[in-house]
């Protein structure tokens, strides 16, 4: 039964989005908060990530957007005095914090009960040694392994067991710092890396069982010892590739009932032995030719896999986990979908495929090899009635340039070459496999190479065979077309393969049906508004609509909300925030909202966010099928990031109404020439530039513009492929590569103005605009806005220029007849304002600006879109009054997960998430931002390595002086050393080529941070790149912009002064502002 002593509960979020910890914890956290609200429990929420939905003031009663560390949480607990703490829904971050709070005695002191799984159980699951012992006690097999805390010990183990060996650091998320070593050299490197990244300097070295099947179970247990498994999931990739980087299918496909039962029983024995209360994930390795299995890992908390399992089955794991945490037993909770008990196991009548989304399209130098360390930033999920259709749909959901399995550049490769490459375990392996099948290689042979089960390979072969059949058929008939649709082929693909027109295909009149996700394979009548499309299947939407609309007093119009697909760099959780808000606001305004998205991690794909949810690829054909079914009043494209915007044109061609800002205006800002003309008309300056389609054109252009210039391809997500170049040589390198990457679109060359970068978001109804606030970037122009630190309210912009910014924004909004959200980026150089970019859609900063100003931006935008004046929203028009709170946004990168990526800030976006520091002064907010970003401050005398490029030496001088004055010991590379010497700053010279020596220093923690401004060019051989990447490896911060380094020194001063930080809710920070206005 519910614990009635719980009146107030603290929920800890997971912090910034990093690889291994993404939107799934926002989804879980929000579900948890809603579950607590149902119980009338007051919720105190702490999270440093401002882009999340959980940090909305509607979700929790008290929202603290504060750093997630022991100090802040202790203070917040002291202040709020909650009776309980829920830590199992905030990923590894929250779980580790709960342990810290316990160790520090904070929980005891303030009588805070850790709800759900207790500390003892968490430790037993997380501590490798304790876990191993427990498994041995209950007779569950674990691979031979040893916990080591030095390389010597590790080496002993290797001598005994032999290679390959898996290295897993303790207490890190997403397996950061781990890997598989096949030889001694790799082994040494990975062990060292793992030891340095583990907070307790421990790694597990383990006999490799690569090649086994990898199976996961999601299990839930309550305090009455009732256990259920929600879902089994089978990795298509065998053991050896992190499950977050694996193609996964649910339920398992190749296991007999006996095998599945054996693993299920084991999972239940484990969760019982660990006494977990709530959700838990158990990973198994199963031999392919015997019954032998091993336990790989147990996560004593809700995880990415539980989000997937929830979406795959409809069973709300996070919600149920929360109810269990506050004392309920499973049989006392209702399954919201069927209205029956939650104490049951979902059974599904479809197949789910998950495919990770990797950032390698952005990081061309990145190491694409997949191993035990997760590299994907996000994932997509697809549902089909057969494996083949589910898999094919999943490939479409990736939103790649190509939709099919073939034609990805492998068809030109000789078969021999292809087979050799097939041994490589990277993100393109499935596509190589498909090509190998197309080439006619035997299944067994491919099976031996890839260790992927024959079943999956046979299924992929079915797709490849059908593709061949389509391309060789003389006359496409309805039967073959119907088969292609059942297999998940797109009309575009069929047209291309069969050389037919869309009219021919339409004449066949083959329509999909929409089926319901109901947790029970139709055994009970469920009315979940959660659908997926399938061919050769009856439709269930109509019935559902009739049933659900019975309660309406008058018929409602519906509006389609396009989600943003998988999380990737440049398109993160912020768009989920916007989509969810848009959907909820539509419902509030008496519409039905219809959500489409393909991302299982997000809240937008929770079944009760929209009136109806379609879990489908963000592809025009699938969306048109939904539109034909739903017949919406229009489509909202401005909340789903570039994914949704990219669909606008195609929707328009189909005659579908785009609500809000028109397609013409969207195109106007994307089309360089039109935009240039527009700004000229409005008398607004922009950096000079032009578009070129050839190398001579480029060289000519630069003659006119003068170096440095900013080069980039047209039509971009997150500034992909953007770069500042300083001379002809760099320009030529770039141009040649860019045309190789895409020759459909020209390359854009702009004057590079190294000024102050400023950004604002606005809401417009076409006549008036409301600007919640203006943000100023800390790094000078040239760093992608997503990667720069930014301050609200702006601190260094003159009143005059502020007025100009507002004037420009107003002019642009009116001219483009913007209806809804808009984001404009400016550069101020030599007191002159230039516009560099206009985005006629929701931007990355919408959630932040909504929270720091208290203006519900998406809501107001939606009323503007629906034709209402924004004046009625009650926030006035023009620039909204400044808050007295100051917030500093700091980007968060996932370097430690991605090898060989240059961490240097550039015009190309690289960060995966962000944190926000909020306080009453700029300096304190800045300090908090660094704290929230995980930076360590120390009183000890610290060594700093400084290495500056020629271009940056002079502007860096004041910062280096400050560095010296603040008592840091400066080490400098040769050129920098000479330069500093000339300017009277003492430093110790270090040779750049002495990388080994540097590495040692970093390894031993004798370097605090690095200031290294990169030389240009993507030359991965240069010393700067090497220094930076080694620093990444050892987790040593490297500041590659002088401005970031400067900001860090400012924050350090706050620390040096022993400034005591206070923590408060975002609501109070804003109120403080209010009170002070009246003073």
């Amino acid at each position: 039964m519910k614990d009635r002593t719980l009146k107030k509960i603290l929920v800890i979020g997971s912090g910034p989005i990093v690889i291994g910890q993404a939107a799934e914890f926002d989804y879980a956290g929000v579900q948890a908060c809603r579950a607590l609200k149902e119980e009338n429990i007051e919720i105190v929420l702490v999270n440093s990530n401002p882009a999340t939905i959980m940090t909305d003031e509607e979700i929790a009663n008290k929202v603290y957007i504060e750093p997630l560390n022991l100090e802040s949480l202790t203070e917040i607990i002291k202040k709020e005095r909650p009776q309980g703490l829920i830590a199992s829904l905030g990923g590894q971050t929250a779980l580790n914090l709960a342990c810290e709070l316990f160790e520090a005695g904070v929980l005891d002191k303030y009588k805070v009960k850790l709800l759900g799984t207790n500390i003892d159980s968490i430790k037993k699951a997380e501590d490798r040694e304790m876990f191993k012992n427990l498994m041995q006690e209950i007779g569950e097999p674990v691979p031979e392994s040893e916990i080591v805390s030095s390389y010597n010990e590790a080496s002993e183990f290797a001598k005994r067991i032999g290679f390959p060996i898996i290295i897993r650091p303790a207490f890190t998320l997403g397996g950061a710092g781990g890997g598989i070593a096949r030889n001694e050299r790799d082994y040494e490197e990975i062990v060292h890396q793992g030891l340095s990244q583990s907070p307790i300097n421990q790694v597990l070295v383990e006999k490799s069982i690569a090649g086994y099947k990898e199976i996961e179970f999601e299990v839930i247990r309550d305090s009455n010892d009732t256990c259920i498994t929600i879902c089994s999931m089978e990795n298509i990739d065998p053991i050896g590739i992190h499950t977050g980087d694996s193609f996964v299918v649910a339920p398992s496909q190749t296991l007999t009932a006996n095998e599945a039962g054996m693993l299920r029983a084991s999972a239940i024995r484990i969760i019982k032995a660990l006494k977990i209360e709530g959700g838990c994930n158990v990973q198994f390795a199963l031999d392919t030719v015997t019954n032998q299995y091993y336990i790989i890992e147990v996560n004593p908390r809700v995880s990415r896999s539980s989000a997937l399992a929830s979406k795959a089955t409809g069973y709300p794991i996070a919600k149920i986990t929360t109810k269990i945490a506050i004392g309920y037993n499973l049989n006392e909770i209702k399954n919201p979908i069927t209205g029956k008990t939650a104490a049951f196991e979902p059974t599904i009548d479809y197949i789910v495929t998950k495919i990770p989304k990797w950032p390698f399209d952005k990081f061309s130098t990145g190491d694409r090899i997949l191993g035990t360390k997760m590299k994907a930033t996000g994932e997509i999920m697809a549902i089909g009635r057969t494996f083949v259709s589910s898999f094919k749909k999943a490939i479409t959901s990736l939103e790649d340039r190509y939709t099919g399995l073939l034609w990805r550049g492998f068809q030109e490769m000789s078969n021999e070459e292809l087979l050799t490459e097939l041994y490589i375990q990277d993100d393109r392996r499935i596509f190589r496999l498909a090509q190998a099948l197309y080439n006619g290689n035997e299944i067994n042979k491919l099976c031996a190479i890839t260790k992927i089960d024959k079943w999956f390979i046979s299924k992929i072969k079915e797709i490849v065979d059908l593709e061949r059949e389509l391309s060789t058929t003389k006359q496409l008939d309805k039967k073959l077309y119907q088969k292609a649709k059942e297999y998940g082929f797109l009309d575009d693909e069929v047209m291309h393969l069969t050389q037919n027109t869309i009219e021919t295909l339409k004449n066949f009149n083959v329509q999909p049906g929409f089926r319901l996700v109901d947790t029970c394979a139709n055994e009970f009548s469920a009315s979940t508004p959660y659908f997926y499309s399938a061919y050769a299947e009856a439709d269930e939407v109509e019935d559902y609509k009739i049933k659900s609309q019975e309660s309406y007093k008058k018929p409602k119009e519906n509006i389609l909300v396009l989600g943003s697909g998988p999380i990737r760099i440049g398109q993160g959780i912020e768009f989920d925030y916007c989509s969810v808000h848009a959907s909820q606001e539509l419902i509030k305004r008496g519409y039905e909202s219809v959500m489409v998205n393909s991302n299982p991690e997000t809240l937008s794909t929770d079944f009760d966010i929209a009136t109806r949810l379609y879990f489908e690829p963000m592809n025009i054909e699938y969306i048109m099928n939904i539109i034909r079914k739903e017949n919406p009043k229009g489509v909202l494209v401005q909340f789903g990031g570039q994914t949704a915007i990219n669909l606008a044109e195609k929707l328009d061609q189909e005659g579908i109404k785009i609500l809000g800002t028109s397609l013409e205006s969207i195109n106007a800002v994307e089309d360089r020439k039109v935009f240039e003309k527009l700004l000229k008309e409005l008398n607004i300056s922009q950096p000079k530039g032009c578009a070129v389609t050839s190398t001579p054109q480029a060289l000519n252009a630069v003659k006119e513009l003068g170096y440095p210039v900013l080069v980039r391809p047209s039509y971009v997500i997150g500034g992909r492929g953007m770069q500042v170049v300083y001379n002809d040589e760099e320009l030529l390198t770039y141009i040649t590569e860019a045309f190789k990457f895409s020759n459909e679109h020209p390359v854009l060359i702009d004057q590079y103005l190294e000024g102050q970068e400023v950004e604002l978001d606005a809401i417009s109804d076409g006549r008036d605009i409301l600007i919640p606030g203006i943000c100023e970037h800390i790094e000078r122009a040239g760093v992608h806005s997503g990667d720069s630190m930014s301050i609200y309210p702006s601190q260094n912009i003159s009143r005059k220029n502020e007025k100009i910014l507002v004037k420009y924004a107003t002019k642009i909004a009116r001219k483009l007849n913007i209806k809804g959200l808009m984001n404009i980026q400016f550069i101020i150089k030599d007191d002159k304002v230039y516009v560099i970019e206009v985005n006629p859609r929701a931007s990355r900063t919408v959630p932040i600006m909504s929270k720091v100003t208290g203006i519900p931006m998406v809501k107001i935008a939606l009323s503007a879109i629906l034709g209402k004046s924004i004046r009625r929203a009650g926030f006035g028009v023009g620039l909204y009054k400044k808050s007295n709170l100051v917030s500093v946004k700091m980007p968060i990168f996932s370097w430690q997960k991605l090898n060989r990526i240059d961490p240097a800030l550039a015009p190309e976006m690289k960060s995966t998430g962000e944190v926000l520091g909020i306080d009453t002064s700029y300096k304190k907010a800045l300090y908090k931002a660094f704290l929230a970003g995980g930076h360590k401050f120390s009183k000890a005398k610290q060594r700093v390595l400084v290495s500056l490029n020629d271009h940056n030496k002079k502007p860096a001088l004041p910062v280096i002086k400050k560095l010296f004055k603040q008592g840091f010991f400066i080490m400098a590379t040769w050129g920098t050393h000479k330069f500093l010497e000339k300017n009277g700053i003492p430093s110790k010279m270090i040779e750049k080529f002495m990388i080994d020596k540097l590495q040692k220093r970093m390894k031993n923690g004798r370097l605090s941070f690095i200031i290294n401004t990169p030389t240009t060019g993507k030359n991965s051989q240069n010393a700067g790149f090497q220094i930076r990447t080694i620093a990444q490896m050892y987790g040593i911060p490297s500041f590659t912009s002088i401005d970031t380094a400067n900001a860090f020194l400012v924050a350090h001063k706050v620390f040096d002064k022993n400034t005591e930080l206070t923590y408060d809710t975002i609501t109070n920070y804003r109120k403080k502002n209010f009170l002070e206005l009246f003073k």
Binding site: A257, V289, T347, D349, Y350, I351
Partner: protein, 368 residues
């Protein structure tokens, strides 16, 4: 192209991938995601046409190890997708081959979700499954026949052993089992717990069993309408009070009938691997495998029968006991096969009851 005709006139056409021919049967569905081999060989499905709700069937072929009886008992199998290329190291043949050998008609490429919806809305129906593409005239003719279709009353004769046999003869606890179509999983679970088992045909007289010195009698699972089995009920009545009785599935229903309770036909049965059952004494919930179409009428149980288990989905009775008579019964299949064996501890509990009983008897004997 094969055809399925339902009693209500609905016709489904699909690809035939099993034996040739046609059979009438009761159309039922199972929601397990794995375990088609166990289900195909489960005698509870005798004479039924089975729809699997999980769409991919045949993935791991058919092996030598996972049979629940020596034969198959259903007449038809209906799936969304039949796997063309099975993959498993234990697999000996494809599902399709197996079905052909066992004379089971099978259809694939059928919209099974819609079919199941029909069955849950209308209730279990009789149907006719054939490997032939029937024309409307033939369909109408069959439809007429279907209206009067009834499951044979002597169905137990087909699933029970023909003569007595011993199982795990080296066991220590001496039990008899009435074989109404017993699953191997139950035999193995008992053997594992040191039972020396003598399996008797379904129509064995109680007298014959009482003549032997058994420690307990088990009544197995099995197909059909329990109320039809009057002979079996009469034998059970003779055993009651003379020897501890344990019933599973049909055995549970027969014990209830012998105790004076009533059974009724469920609208569409319980067939799957995810049925939550609560123990009414300690409120513990276990997931169970189920495969039955009839249930004990909870409203009409006798006052001696103490309900011990209930289904959390529909509150039907899942177990009862009459301790004074040494009667213990559960409706679900604690051995799983396929499905969870979370409730397997019930075998331990039962065997412990028998052991205690043996000790008690021995004490009495010693006193004498």
């Amino acid at each position: 192209m094969g055809t399925l005709i339902l009693q209500d006139g609905t016709v489904y056409k699909g690809q035939s991938f099993g034996a040739l021919g046609g059979f009438e049967g009761e159309v039922v569905f199972n929601t397990s995601m794995v375990g088609y081999q166990e289900i195909l060989s489960d005698p509870n499905y005798a004479k039924q046409i089975l729809v699997m709700t999980y769409p991919e069937i045949g993935n791991y072929g058919v092996n030598d190890f996972d049979f629940e009886s020596d034969n198959t008992h259903l007449v038809g199998l209906i799936v969304k997708n039949n796997c063309q290329q099975e993959s498993h190291y234990k697999s000996r043949e494809s599902l399709s081959n197996f079905l052909k050998k066992k004379n089971i008609i099978a259809l694939s490429n059928i919209d099974t979700r819609s079919l199941v919806k029909k069955l849950t809305q209308m209730g279990t129906m009789s149907g006719f499954i054939t490997s032939n593409d029937l024309d409307s005239e033939y369909i109408n003719e069959k439809l007429g026949e279907l209206q009067s279709f009834k499951i044979k009353e002597d169905i137990l004769a087909e699933v029970s052993c023909k003569s007595r046999f011993a199982y795990n003869p080296q066991g220590k606890i001496n039990i008899a089992i009435y074989d109404y179509g017993i699953k191997k999983g139950i035999l193995n679970a008992l053997a594992l717990r040191n039972c020396r088992i003598t399996v008797y045909p379904y129509n064995t007289e109680a007298k014959e069993i009482l003549e032997n010195d058994f420690d307990a009698v088990f009544l197995s699972n099995g197909p059909g309408n329990p109320a039809n089995y009057t002979y079996q009920i009469a034998q059970i009545k003779q055993l009651m009070g003379k020897i501890p009785l344990f019933g599973i599935g049909l055995g549970c229903q027969l014990l209830a009938l012998a105790s004076g309770a009533k059974t009724y036909k469920l609208k569409y049965g319980h067939r799957g691997s995810n049925h939550p059952v609560i123990n009414l004494e300690n409120n513990k919930v276990v997931m169970t495998a189920q495969n039955h179409g009839y249930a004990i009428d909870l409203e009409n149980i006798t006052k001696f029968m103490r309900p011990t288990h209930k289904n959390l989905n529909d509150d039907t009775l899942e177990g009862f006991e009459i301790t004074s008579l040494g009667v213990y019964a559960i409706q679900f299949q604690p051995e799983g096969k396929p499905g969870p064996n979370d409730a397997e501890f019930i075998f331990d509990e039962w065997v412990n009851i028998i052991k205690k009983d043996i000790n008690r008897i021995n004490e009495v004997k010693n006193e004498r």
